[in-house]
């Protein structure tokens, strides 16, 4: 057998490339099997983040937290430093938000993955301030509590 580098027999470099290709391909095949049969692998679309959605782990350290739940829930417990902003009392709470916000990214959360209040607040904030970098937290308050029991 003649190697690509014109030596007789495969050279060390070609053997190495073949080893790496073998490792990569076998891992890809097993990955495909995992996709097909693993019970904890989400369907392709189900694992995708929605537009404007952010994971707890991705949140920038300087982000401003906004609590879109009710005043009662906010008073019970909230993310440290979070300010309240919901549609129940939008005008006065928005004024408080504008006084606090210094241009940093904004992360809005509501009760769980099923609630829509955080998306609504993000949408309204973007109506007022189109350039604002605002996200809604995936799985909301539940995600926070899971990591901060």
């Amino acid at each position: 057998m003649t190697c690509c580098c014109k030596q007789s027999g495969p050279c060390g470099c070609c053997v190495l490339v073949k080893q790496i290709v073998l490792l990569v391909v076998v891992a890809a095949l097993l990955g495909a099997v995992t996709w097909a049969v693993h019970p904890r692998m989400p369907a392709y679309a189900a694992g995708r983040l929605e537009a404007g959605e952010i994971l707890l782990a991705s949140i920038p350290a300087n982000a401003l937290w906004v609590d879109a739940r009710t005043l009662t829930e906010y008073k019970q417990e909230h993310v440290p430093g979070a300010i309240l902003l919901n549609e129940d009392d939008w005008e006065s709470l928005l004024a408080q938000f504008i006084n606090t916000w210094k241009g940093q990214p904004v992360v809005v959360y509501c009760g769980s993955g099923e609630c829509h209040a955080s998306k609504a607040v993000v949408a309204r904030l973007k109506e007022y301030m189109p350039d604002i970098e605002a996200y809604h937290l995936k799985d909301g308050w539940a995600a926070w509590k899971e990591h901060h029991p």
Binding site: Q19, L22, L23, T34, H38, L55, A57, A61
Partner: protein, 137 residues
């Protein structure tokens, strides 16, 4: 270096990568979100990475224990570690401070420095295994 020391190094690295890959394989859905959390890859690539990378770690871990695959596995893992160090640094400079979740709750790195130092150690170990064969030629 004595033969048995090289063997210990290979077994140690293999164990670390097998555990890391195995924990990811236990819950690939969670790992998919971990990959997305870095915000570096478009979703199709993140999805493919979540499926492929855990197996790649496990296969390379076994490769380290098989003499005819050792050099390829060692170089692959060294390159993967270097790539991961770059990813960690990029995420850090974008204000994202996160753990890879590579070892579940067994090993949580207290700071980025520790995390990078750990991966540098793995890189050096893997490169040493890769270079060894060259030296003996």
């Amino acid at each position: 270096m004595k033969q048995w020391l090289w063997l210990i190094l290979a077994v140690l690295l293999a164990a670390i990568f097998a555990v890391s890959g195995g924990l990811k394989l236990a819950d690939p859905g969670k790992f998919l979100f971990d990959v997305q959390a870095f915000k570096l890859l478009p979703y199709p690539l993140a999805f493919a990475t979540a499926l492929w990378l855990p197996w790649f770690e496990v296969i390379c871990a076994f490769g380290l224990l098989i003499p005819c695959l050792r050099r390829g596995a060692a170089l692959s893992l060294a390159l993967a570690c270097v790539a991961f160090i770059i990813v960690l640094a990029l995420a850090h400079f974008r204000g994202i401070h996160l753990d890879c979740g590579c070892f579940g709750k067994w090993l949580v790195f207290p700071s980025l420095g520790f995390h990078i130092a750990f991966n540098c150690g793995l890189t050096v170990g893997a490169l040493a295994l890769f270079m060894r064969k060259s030296e003996t030629k």
